[in-house]
Chain length 410, copies 2
């Protein structure tokens, strides 16, 4: 007999249904979720539960169950921290000023180069476990704090170990083009990245580039993407138009990027390009919030134009140290003025689509991975209403409860 | 022998020292905190610990210890919730529009009138325990969801029971003048509040009034405060200039208010009045954030003018359902662009001053209550750096550990 686990006594079950490409939040009450071999098989009514014969029955005590949150943009593998920059920013220094004075990303590069692979792995593993306890069940992780061959590869090997050992969906991205290392110009370093790109083909699923004034240009982006396609990378991503409008979004979309990320300064022209290319717009309110930015991406224009939006932490030691996707949901509602349903769709279906995995997870639909979070209450809106508290009682990955590693010192 | 408890192995101890009226964050490392009869007696060096003889020694494992957070503005006693307003607001309705259509405060009034005293007490007790687990060790609580004699008194009796049973500092405020009940004009209801004010003298420590367009005017405020002083209330508070400039702040300060709260729309003239009267400015970034307000109080102008600022949740079911003072700290840093030190001083010394209790608690100084929180890490800046996660490992009230009631369903 097939081993089916029945999660019964669900007060409210949220699924993300998509007819065509338009997702919709569907809510069922008093039901049970059947899981076999780590995947959802069916949803039945609670009243039907006694007529079934299950391998295991788990009583969820009337709580709310939602698809696990998907964090489709993180830099979670890194060493060191950048707490000192907080006071510098409050004293008026901008993110790019700190960067240009040798702080910022280059501080993290220094610490990450010095760290052993074991140290990096232990730190990242703790972070991933903490994020899972808070409801996240799938991740994208970028390299980009090495800016040399050894460290970039070390970061990606750590990502592969995380994927293997934690048995959780992790998409890896080679972000060689994150900044220029000390002693090299942007152009010199870019040629180095281009030359060695093929070496990363077996370490990462995709490539990314930080397109910004003083860093890489839209011309660099076009060259990198073309080369990446030839080398065989399927997923092209880009940090674009975050601090100023550089044309990165338009060019990335035209080149078939799977996601364009940040987008604070995009224009209607760029939105049209995203729609036509089917590129997902990845929004990170945590970064805007933490840096005190006034500029918000044109979220409603994106939604109205039919662009799929995704939400992510952008987790990184400089502009968004928060790892908590629940915080991102609350920030998105308040800063973008979107509804709880819109925010949840973006953080599940939308983010999964940015990883080309929306068939595999993000909806809690039959056939998909049984990745879900169980709330402390029976109402998913509490995630938004009482912003700032942790509402996740437990997280399940492929139907297995994520071991409770609450409150580790980190 | 005097029973002294020694909290040893403190990685970092934060105290709020004030010379004159200017508070300063003082940081000691590797030390121990001595507590007797619920109060701080001394701070000694860690190396001195073995030479002492203590009733009890508690090892804090190198963690960071800070004064407990003080929440000097809450409406935490109430029934019902107002989650439905979230979608109304996202659809464009303003807080005052919802209020004027019979929603908002009046919804909570209906639910609070219907609730029994026991129900109200149980709900409020759970909320206070949850807030204490998150680091808050002293509270102000307002009535204002009865708008009649019975319910207003019921709310304040609940507050007195909380104070007695939880043995935690709670300041109670009679906020009869919160809104007009159904069927009465503002003027009619105001006369009712004035007539019955003496009946609340033994139930509350102070009075408060919601001064706003469409609610009460600055003229009402002046009359209420004068009457309250004659009746013998010592603490005059006011919700002023939150959604529009109504002159409430200026008038409240001139009448000797101990705190003026919200202050989004105050002018330099009002700031001068606050300074001259020694009134504490209570800021609630959570309310601004949750309502999606663009207008921020002139925080830096207040600080530069020498006005003491305080931070509070404003905890209420309509505009700020969050009960978490840690969230308020992070919001304050990001929205007001103040440093971690400034935010912490405001949430401890400043809030205690708004309750006229800064000699009693808020600084973790010798002679003061031993109200403190122990962080999960050794760096108080983590509260700000990783915004959105709970960094409080445990909370102590008068030297006793607050029982862990984590994760209750609420």
């Amino acid at each position: 007999m097939e081993k089916v686990t029945c999660f019964r006594n669900i007060g409210e079950l949220i699924q993300m249904q998509s007819s065509g490409d338009v997702p919709r939040l569907a809510r069922k009450t008093r039901c049970a979720l059947l899981v076999s071999q780590g995947r959802v098989t069916r949803v039945i009514r609670e009243s039907e539960v006694h007529r079934q014969d299950f391998f295991k029955v788990i009583d969820l005590q009337g709580r709310s169950v939602l698809p696990g949150l998907v964090d489709c943009h993180t830099h979670l593998i890194h060493a060191g921290d950048r707490k000192d920059e907080m006071d510098l920013r409050m004293a008026g220094a901008s993110y790019m000023e700190i960067h240009q004075n040798g702080g910022g990303i280059l501080n993290t590069v220094k610490a990450t180069r010095q760290a052993t692979e074991e140290e990096l792995y232990d730190r990242a593993r703790l972070r991933v476990r903490r994020m899972m306890a808070l409801g996240t069940t799938a991740f994208e992780i970028k390299s980009g704090y090495g800016l040399d061959l050894d460290t970039e590869k070390k970061m990606l090997r750590v990502g592969q170990r995380l994927r293997k050992n934690l048995r959780v969906p992790i998409t890896l991205t080679y972000l060689g083009a994150h900044a220029a290392p000390k002693g090299k110009t942007i152009d010199q370093y870019f040629e180095f990245v281009m030359e060695h790109l093929p070496e990363f083909r077996n370490l990462a699923d995709g490539v990314d580039i930080f397109c910004e004034k003083g860093v890489f240009t839209a011309a660099h982006l076009r060259r990198l993407f073309l080369h990446a396609k030839l080398v065989g990378f399927h997923q092209l991503r880009a940090h674009v138009d975050q601090l100023s409008h550089q044309g990165g979004c338009y060019n990335a979309a035209r080149m078939g990027a799977i996601s364009c990320d940040h987008l604070e300064h995009i224009t209607p022209h760029d939105i049209r390009a995203l729609y036509l290319s089917g590129t997902t717009a990845v929004l990170m309110p945590g970064a805007t919030f933490f840096l005190g930015g006034k500029k918000i991406p044109p979220v409603h224009a994106l939604i109205e134009a039919g662009v799929t939006i995704a939400l992510a932490t952008g987790c990184n030691p400089g502009s968004s140290p928060s790892c908590n996707m629940q915080t991102v949901l609350g920030l998105a509602q308040s800063m973008y003025r979107i509804t709880p349903a819109q925010a949840l769709i973006a953080a599940t279906y939308g983010s999964a689509r940015a990883l080309d995995s929306h068939k595999d997870f993000g909806g809690l639909l039959p056939g998909q991975r049984a990745d879900f979070m169980v709330l402390k209450t029976d109402d998913h809106r509490d995630l938004f209403y009482c912003f700032g508290e942790n509402f996740v009682e437990s997280t399940y990955s492929a139907g297995r409860k994520v071991k409770d590693e609450k409150d580790p010192v980190f």
